[in-house]
Amino acid sequence: MHRSNIVRIIPLLLLLATGEASAHAFLDHAEPRVGNKVATAPREVTLWFTQKLEPAFSTITVTNSAGQRVDTGKTRVSGSQMSISLRPAGTGTYHVTWHVLSVDTHTTDGSFAFQVGQ
């Protein structure tokens, strides 16, 4: 093993001691796509993750440019896929915020935006 790798292990031992840890399920892709522009407001937002999700602890919220909720409030989870229906809310920037628990017991959260209209 290279000396540099041995040096890298030292902070990892500290990591073990401090117990710092990260989460697991990553966002694989979304529809509408992250940062994309769509002509008309979508009826729902769907997110695909890299691992299976726990429905009880996984949620999506979608807000419009004014910060108002435009989702119906009921997140649907199937395997590694999660969706939420949207109410008609016109054009502008939509912000999607997600929080998921993967079945290996780790939580992840994140957010992205997409544009509706010109």
Binding site: I9, L16, T18, A21, H24, A25, Q51, K52, G79, S80
Partner: protein, 320 residues
């Protein structure tokens, strides 16, 4: 570090390590009983009562620690899953959601039932049928851990392969590390009692455990490679990610365990078998006991590393 707020990763790592070690001791002692001790005791009646009660006591203590640490693991997991401070997460709503609506909760319930069956079998241990039921329950109690970790969330056909590899990996780790605890007890008793019958039993047990150890090491290597291939994926990911480097650390500790196992197998066990001098046999027995205890300590170090690995991003996520 926030030990009892929403950030419960530190305590989770510690409690997972304790739970994995205790579970391995339970399953390992019962595997040891059926594949090593009972066949070896067949020709040495004098030590039967001592060895059987040692194994039963070891398995019972292991089960008690596994049960207590399992309950604490569930509570810490509920706090981690809900994102609530520990005290608030102990509400019946949160605990019931975790138990009834998550895979971790379902697996915990199944393992709880298996632990009760196992406890009953250990309490009424005289029937052969109950001894085998105890072993089956202990193996189920151990294998089910696979569904609480990365293997349980791997998608598709790869998920089945990952779960199979993980369950076999857990069996092998329990057979080797957990079995070593019972072997160390047996060798220690042989050293205390001395006499031809005990020396013969120690020799026979050490030889039989060597075979179990070789099978366990082979299984650990193959299943470890399969899991690493799924969770790490490349040599680059192994050496540049936190997950990969901790896995390297685990492999290094495993390699040190192998060195001790090789010394036991190829040097000390033959001395026990072929040395005609009593003094040389006692010396070999003492070294074999000491090495077994060191191997157990290294095995428990690996469980601590595994406790941390389970909380990290698999390395392959960073490479795609």
């Amino acid at each position: 570090m926030d030990w009892l707020g929403a950030g419960v990763d530190g305590p989770l790592i510690v409690i997972r390590a304790i739970h994995f070690a205790a579970t391995a001791v339970v399953a390992g002692s019962l595997i040891f009983r059926e594949v090593v001790a009972e066949p070896a005791l067949g020709s040495t009646q004098v030590a039967t009562t001592v060895v059987r009660s040692q194994i039963l006591l070891t398995a019972s203590i292991g089960l008690a620690i596994a049960a207590v640490s399992g309950v604490i693991w569930l509570q810490l997991q509920a706090a981690s899953m809900s994102g609530l401070p520990f005290g608030e997460a102990m509400s019946s709503d949160v605990l019931s959601t975790v138990l009834n609506e998550t895979q971790f909760g379902l697996v915990s319930e199944i393992r709880f039932v298996l632990a009760i069956i196992l406890a009953a079998c250990l309490a009424y241990d005289r029937l052969a049928l109950l001894r085998w039921l105890a072993l089956a329950s202990a193996l189920g109690f151990t294998a089910a851990i696979a569904w609480t970790g990365h293997a349980g969330s791997t998608l598709g056909e790869m998920g089945n392969l990952h779960l199979t590899a993980d369950a076999l990996h857990l069996f092998a780790a329990a057979a080797w590390t957990g079995g070593l605890v019972s072997l160390a007890h047996l060798l220690s008793a042989a050293r205390r009692h001395q006499g031809f019958a005990w020396a013969s039993l120690a020799r026979d047990a050490a030889q039989r455990f060597s075979t179990l150890g070789i099978i366990s090491v082979g299984t650990l290597l193959v299943t470890g490679i399969v899991s690493a291939w799924i969770l790490v994926g490349s040599f680059q990911a192994l050496v540049i990610t936190e997950y990969g480097l901790i896995l390297v650390l685990k492999t290094m500790v495993f390699a040190i365990m192998l060195v001790f196992a090789a010394v036991n197998r190829f040097w000390l066990t033959p001395q026990l078998a072929f040395s005609s001098e009593k003094e040389a046999q006692v010396k070999a027995l003492r070294r074999l006991t000491r090495n077994s205890v060191i191997e157990v300590a290294l095995g428990f170090t690996i469980f601590a590393i595994v406790g941390a690995l389970g909380t990290l991003h698999p390395a392959i996520h960073f490479m795609n």
